[in-house]
Assembly symmetry: C2
Homo-oligomer: 324 residues x 2
């Protein structure tokens, strides 16, 4: 049983990261309505959110710029068109995927950019590339995180080796990413334990990015908070790939730190997120995501099921069980 | 951290209770499509569910029979029209609310009824009436539970006194009911602790009935399982009042006992639950329910908001904060 004092109080180390534009952008290929990002920026400022992830730094060699909105690429000038010089306490982040980012060229030195933090996303088998990206970004003056994706599919011992290697770099935060939405709170607790074991030796912080395949994104984030995780990803109305993420409105309602305000999030969801849904943008818990989550599979088949407008869950169940 | 063996294994004491008709009936006033209850009965049989709650034993003096479907009243003959003599391992339950049931007349002796279990629902301030109902039902030959509603609004010491009184009766199961969907898993853990403290002295079992106001119905049920709770309520597609309940498909996906099968639930949801939704029956997580849950309020204002088709969450927030 967790310490009662912790439930009533709050940790000063907690940082809330709004990943709506980045993970939500995976749902609509980053084609957000014109005023969306600016309004979200203002809502985050009012809500006391600590970091706002603006999108990806994706390679233009690999991704056709005509097929994605500009936040897939997050050019500095485009970010400035949204946030100006961002002379605020809200820090800006972008995600850079291993193997999908020309980081040496496309990430400019920090003193030329409005971005504060580079989040390097990697699978556990591409750690050397992630290390190079982290060092590149740190040398350019950025804060850095390393987001280890699909933690549910790796062996605990592999995580330990990966973390030891990453902890030799200047990276500040090591992220647990439950990409498949496969983990139960008790399992999150054990993954955190492994991360904590290595990261505390090196003074690194730990983050959590949860998916809602089994309606556990918020619960897993709460579990992680109780276990000492400090960087918490959330998205407005849970918008994110497939079943989506931990909802910002739920997270700010739970955190006891009086610096956070839930009301601006409610206003934003009312005005902007429901409008997206009415335009036919689809995300959130549904049975196809539960199935891939339970089976610890990548959600791509479930996303295709959704896009095709299918509702034959029982046929889909047979298809994904056959993949297992 | 919970015992790893427990996560891999399963408890033989676990009983899964399908509350779809009863809690779901609160959404559509028990007007289910004609073949719904029978198909649900067959799905529960295939899925290995232990108990099926058929509805309420509501007083016809208090409730107009023309305004509700027959499962609001669960007359024995009507139940027989659905399940015949139910010569199966699936037991049947009905709920009887303190102050809303003419139990002395309307609950016939067990040997005249297809029902196996009477679930007495009470607030913590009406325990003497609940005790009388439990004794009446037990004397007539039924299994009994006592479902203590709105546990989030009571003081821990009141629960202890109530439980001591209830444990003097023949009741078999004491239920934690988070009617407001207000509790976080860490709080569930503490409530279970209080229940366990009293109930184990008397050899009584503990149940959990969760609501999904904060997307925690499943997580809170998992938490309770890990803490030793054995009777688990769930509903197909989470159908239940307001934000709904713990989803049967999620619960059976998590329980490791090979007696449970998730596939019949998936088939039923595909065929019957989505049809209900398409007919305009509305339940499930939304911001209005999150707000009443967070504020530890009865969901009646949020249900009215939903019925009126409102989507001005921010106005509603002001209204419910003012009630606090």
């Amino acid at each position: 049983m967790k310490d009662l004092a912790k439930l009533m109080g709050f940790s000063k180390d907690t940082k809330v990261v709004d990943a709506t534009l980045r993970d939500g952008g995976l749902v609509n290929d980053f084609f957000f309505p014109e005023d969306f990002a600016q309004a979200l920026y203002r809502a985050n400022l009012k809500a006391g959110v600590d970091y706002m992830e603006m999108g990806y730094k994706a390679s233009k060699d690999l991704f056709d710029t005509s097929k994605f909105g500009p936040l897939k690429f997050c050019e500095d000038d485009y970010i400035r068109s949204i946030v100006g010089d961002n002379m605020t306490d809200l820090k800006l982040a972008v995600m850079a995927d291993v193997g999908r980012c020309n980081y040496k060229e496309d990430i400019r030195p920090k003193n030329e950019s409005p971005i504060d933090m580079i989040r390097v996303a990697t699978y556990v088998n591409t750690i050397p590339a992630a290390v190079d990206m982290i060092e590149d970004a740190a040398n350019k003056g950025y804060e850095t995180t390393c987001n280890i994706m699909a933690v549910s599919s790796g062996q605990q011992e592999n995580h330990r080796v990966a973390l030891e290697a990453l902890c030799q770099t200047p990276v500040e935060v090591l992220y647990i990413v439950d990409s498949y939405g496969a983990l139960y709170p008790e399992q999150i607790c054990r993954v955190v334990d492994t991360f904590m074991d290595v990261c505390t030796k090196y003074g690194k912080k730990i983050g959590i990015h949860a998916h809602n395949n089994q309606q556990l994104a918020f619960a897993n984030t709460i579990e992680a908070v109780g276990d000492g995780v400090s960087f918490l990803d959330a998205t407005y109305a849970g918008m994110g790939r497939g079943a989506g993420n931990c909802s910002m409105e739920l997270l700010l309602g739970m955190l006891r730190n009086p610096k956070y305000y839930q009301y601006p999030v409610i206003e934003f969801v009312e005005k902007h997120m429901n409008a997206l849904k009415q335009q036919g943008v689809v995300w959130g818990y549904d049975l196809q995501y539960m199935m891939t989550g339970m089976l610890n599979q990548h959600p791509r088949t479930a996303i295709a099921f959704t896009k095709e407008g299918r509702d034959d869950y029982s046929e889909f169940y047979k298809e994904v069980v056959a993949l297992d």
